[in-house]
Amino acid sequence: MLVVLGALPFFLYVAVFLLLPIGVLAVEAFRATDPVTFEESWSTASLAAITEGPYRRAYVGSLQLSIITAVLGGVLGLALAVAVLRARRGRLLRRLVLTASGVLANFGGVPLAFAFLATIGTAGVVTALLTDTLGLGLGGFSLASLTGLALVYLYFLIPLMVLTIIPALEALRPQWREAADNLGASGWQYWRYVGGPVLAPPVIGATMLLFASAFAAYATARALVGSSIPLVTLQIADALSSNVVVGSENLGKALALGMVVLIGLVMIFYAWVQRRTQRWLS
């Protein structure tokens, strides 16, 4: 019995600092403040408000951006991971890529945003090179757009994919490839029947992680564009910092709850896909 007490601090900590805030969020999103009397009451007004107008656009924008960057980041990250692992005499390259990935994936978006501003922002070095020296211009490209954000997001999503998928790639034994070769399988057949099925669950899982990371990203967008682009995280920050509109605090909570619910749905879908692929494997 005493042993169970040893795990108690962890559960208490998680209950207070993880489950309690989310629970409070889920309850207080249903509260509303009367603009005249400042009395609080139960209401679904905030939750109704976030499904339309600019908030709906923000959800759609966030989802679009995170789906596109997750898929692109997944594909490119997988390609980079395979290329780095396969490089002959690539030990140094491997260590450089892995440590750089660790920094870029974990250090957060603020420095990346400023690096990109210095590169292809309005006063950026590459911008100047393209417009003044080569006379080409950026062809209408702007960092303060969904395309621009996607370009910056990939800068931390590709490394995140590399970090998450390398263990799975290393678990792919060369003997399987040799066995397949000896049995006369073509490269395509190897990937279709051996490599692909083994890699599918971790690749799907890693892509989900990329999606969650892109969906939750706030720092990069805030540093790059202020709040001119429809993204949920920017809308939440706006709602919380606005002291003008009564009840905008509740709107922020409702928007945040919406994010949690969406991520929850994605995770349920992911668990279902994972079960399907595992059944296919066995």
């Binding site: 629970g23 750089a100 400023f114 040799e178 073509s186 995280t233 909570k253 991520i263």
Partner: protein, 293 residues
Amino acid sequence: MTLTEGLTSMGTAAPETPVRAGRRGAGAWRFVVLGVLGVYFLVPIGASVWYTIRDRRNGGVTLGTYAEIPGAAGFADAFTRSLVLAGLTVVLVLVLMVPTVVLVNLRLPRLRTTVELLTLMPLVLPPIALVVGVRSVLSWAPDYFLNTPLAEAFFALQEPALPWILVFVYVVLALPFVYRALDAGVRGADLRTLTEAARNLGASWPRVIVSVVLPVLRTSVLNAAFLTLALVLGEFTVAAILGFETFPTWIVRISGSEPRLSVAVSVLSLLITWMLLLLISALDRRRGTKENS
């Protein structure tokens, strides 16, 4: 890309040397991938360095912007605060997680799934949603508990000079990385046998943790500590929403008036973190070979 590789090797596989031909055919895409992504990852860093060192008045190169960093208004405060927060977070998360991971692996395997699920939650849960919840809880102090010790505690957590609430939230954000690093370490070493031996020789559990578990886990502890450090030093969302000034929020605040300084600090922080990580991975390898030989 796995598909392309399969297709190229299918096209070039000659009966005599199927493996070699497949490998040669697969080489080209690898260089394309490394080349394109290499340009994508190096150009912003290179351009940022150039942006900060070119001298616009006289032409040529100057390190003036970098020399300004230590004396910039607010930098010392914000950076020191971030370092202190990072140190406190590392200590707290290790004190919390090392015993938990060891216990779950050695004595309480039934709790494993639950602990795993709980520690993975912060990985997919948007930090901004978590911090909105934390903000709601903190606002209870003036709303419901005014003039009670609890309210005092809540206000103490939000002291702008050293906001402990950030430490507590950062521990939650670091849980997934720390748990996975420690769990891998515990599974890699045969910790069960080692601790059983120590217990049979009469060591108490605290002594087992200090003299057996920590030395065995030092690599994973180092990894976990470093990831937590990088996470805290770069964390923006939580600090910004709760309204505290840390290193990243300072960079964003000054970026409007001093764009070059903000870029210089950004690049420098990225490169220094990278160097540190390289150093740790080199140390790690050296230790590994020493133990093997």
